[in-house]
């Protein structure tokens, strides 16, 4: 085994998922954390590092009764947890902590104990985007897409196919929020949200949480579950304002983060057996497939239509059903990580037979940030 390797030894989602009106935000963090500790056979006193987003790592540590020597409050949106994994790996190798707990919990639907989503009118976004009527992510994350479609001669039907094929994966997952098959016509006839985006091209809004526990790979074999090794990691950020993306057809943060993770893992695209790309909206798998280098610019839509990412295809993508059909509490990155870990443990509802390498790619904000993790169930 390569020295300084790190592994996931505990992973779990909240006990319930979907609509959880009787648990607050911090309660969801704690439920996921306790489930992950049970999964790893650990108690709070065994944890010496904490990382979270949405709430402060101080709140998390105090609530759980953990006295950490490492705390990471990186909060860059839904991919924060990918960055937490990356930072945890570095921290374990630097000796800052041995056993690091990363949690997520969000009452996205029920809003129990949830904080508001306000931008100061003197922030850059408050001055140069909010005055023009942006509201929630469907009116911001989607802004570059018409330029992408025009550049590559694509249409809203190409967006619809992303949702249709992900629903096929969701149908295999008992915990998915939406499991019934849908057609391209269903997507194109669903309610208009923000042209060209319709309801079924947008993520769900649900309640839930998840947690991961990482430690050094040499300790990992002593835990009850099969270790899932971290082969490579990447992160980057671009802009707090979607209108200031350098290129409306490609995310710089995706490219930088992905290249870093692949290089660190020492893998090529042909080595990847399973892929997660955070899909808050239907265009994200298209940008992700291209910016991570699985497809040439403009070719991801045809790749998806050709069923390469569908059940039975050569690059299984978003096998839990994704943010479009599985669940999306607000910061979905944790659920993408959970599915990668399940696939590497061989325990996923839609298990990819023989999968050895999983790439998990997250986005934060509106193309603001990105984090990429390469996992394997074989020791590096």
């Amino acid at each position: 085994m390569k020295p300084k390797s790190v592994a996931v030894v505990g992973a779990a989602e909240t006990t319930q998922m979907g609509k959880i009106p009787d648990v607050s935000v911090i309660g969801l963090h704690a439920d996921a954390a306790l489930n992950a500790m049970a999964d790893a056979g650990l108690k709070p006193s065994d944890i010496d590092g904490v990382a979270t987003a949405g709430i402060s790592p101080v709140e998390l540590a105090h609530y759980l009764g953990v006295t950490p020597t490492y705390a990471d409050g990186t909060s860059v949106g839904g991919c924060s947890f990918m960055l937490h994994v990356r930072h945890a790996a570095a921290a374990i190798n630097a000796g800052l902590a041995n056993t690091i707990l990363i949690t997520h919990g969000e009452s996205g639907r029920s809003r129990v104990g949830a904080s508001g989503w306000a931008r100061s009118p003197s922030s850059l976004m408050g001055q140069f985007e909010m005055p023009y009527g942006v509201t929630s992510p469907p009116t911001m994350f989607t802004v570059p897409v018409l330029r992408y479609l025009k550049t590559y001669g694509l249409t809203e039907e190409d967006l619809a196919w992303v949702a249709v094929i992900q629903r096929e994966w969701a149908a295999k997952n008992p915990r998915a929020s939406f499991k019934d098959p849908i057609t391209v016509d269903d997507v194109l006839n669903s309610a208009m949200i923000a042209w060209p985006f319709r309801m079924l091209m947008c993520c769900l809004v649900t309640d839930g949480g998840g947690a991961l526990i990482l430690t050094s790979a040499d300790r990992a074999r002593d835990f009850p579950k099969r270790p899932v090794y971290v082969l490579g990691t990447g992160e980057s950020v671009e802009t707090p304002m979607v209108s200031q993306m350098a290129d409306f057809t490609s995310s710089k943060a995706f490219r930088v983060s992905g290249q870093k993770a692949f290089a660190e893992a020492g893998i090529g695209h042909a080595d990847v057996d399973h892929l997660m790309i955070y899909d808050a909206f239907a265009h994200l798998p298209l940008y992700g497939l291209e910016d991570l280098g699985f497809c040439q610019p403009g070719e991801a839509a045809a790749f998806i239509r050709a069923r390469h990412t569908a059940p039975g295809g050569r690059l299984p993508l978003n096998t839990n059903g994704g943010g479009l059909s599985y669940m999306h509490s607000g910061m979905y990155g944790m659920y993408a990580l959970q599915e990668s870990v399940r696939q590497m443990r061989g325990l996923a509802p839609a298990q990819v037979d023989g999968a050895k390498i999983s790439v998990c790619h997250g986005v934060g904000g509106m193309f603001a940030a990105s984090g990429t993790i390469v996992f394997s169930n074989e020791a590096p």
């Binding site: 009118p121 003197s122 909010m130 009116t139 018409l146 330029r147 042209w195 060209p196």
Partner: protein, 136 residues
């Protein structure tokens, strides 16, 4: 209808909003590294980090770069769908805006159509820079 959400200028952006009030779209450029225009405002060049920058009046011309049409209007924006647009200015930077003088439909809003700036007074302090079709 609640009052429209308006920007609160900061010392670093004051020249931009003063310009809008005076009917002038103001950008900045670096006098050290080649003079490329940039936006949003900041008192240094985002390319080279140099502090020798100047404010200059932009042409107010650009093209429609991308947009969505929001079908769930924010309460302060009325009750009709409206385009949240990005214009690519002739000087290079992109800027979020609304398109006025034009139906808010995919048919009327064609990417790359030429646009020109127009200022809409919102308060004593703030006029917002909107864009309208520049015509043939």
């Amino acid at each position: 209808m609640p009052p429209r959400m308006l920007p609160e200028p900061t010392p670093e952006t004051r020249h931009f909003w003063d310009g809008c009030r005076a009917g002038e779209l103001r950008l900045q450029r670096c006098t050290d590294c080649g003079g490329e225009a940039y936006f949003p405002p900041r008192p240094f060049c985002p390319k080279c980090g140099g502090r020798k920058v100047e404010v200059f009046p932009a042409s107010g011309r650009g093209v429609l770069w991308s947009y969505v049409i929001n079908h769930r209007p924010r309460p302060d924006m009325g009750d009709q769908p409206y385009a949240i647009a990005v214009v690519k200015l002739a000087e290079g930077p992109t800027m979020m805006t609304n398109i006025v003088g034009c139906p808010q439909t995919p048919e009327a809003l064609q990417l790359d159509m030429p646009l020109k700036v127009t200022f809409a007074r919102q308060s004593d302090e703030i006029s917002l820079p909107f864009f309208e079709p520049a015509g043939a």
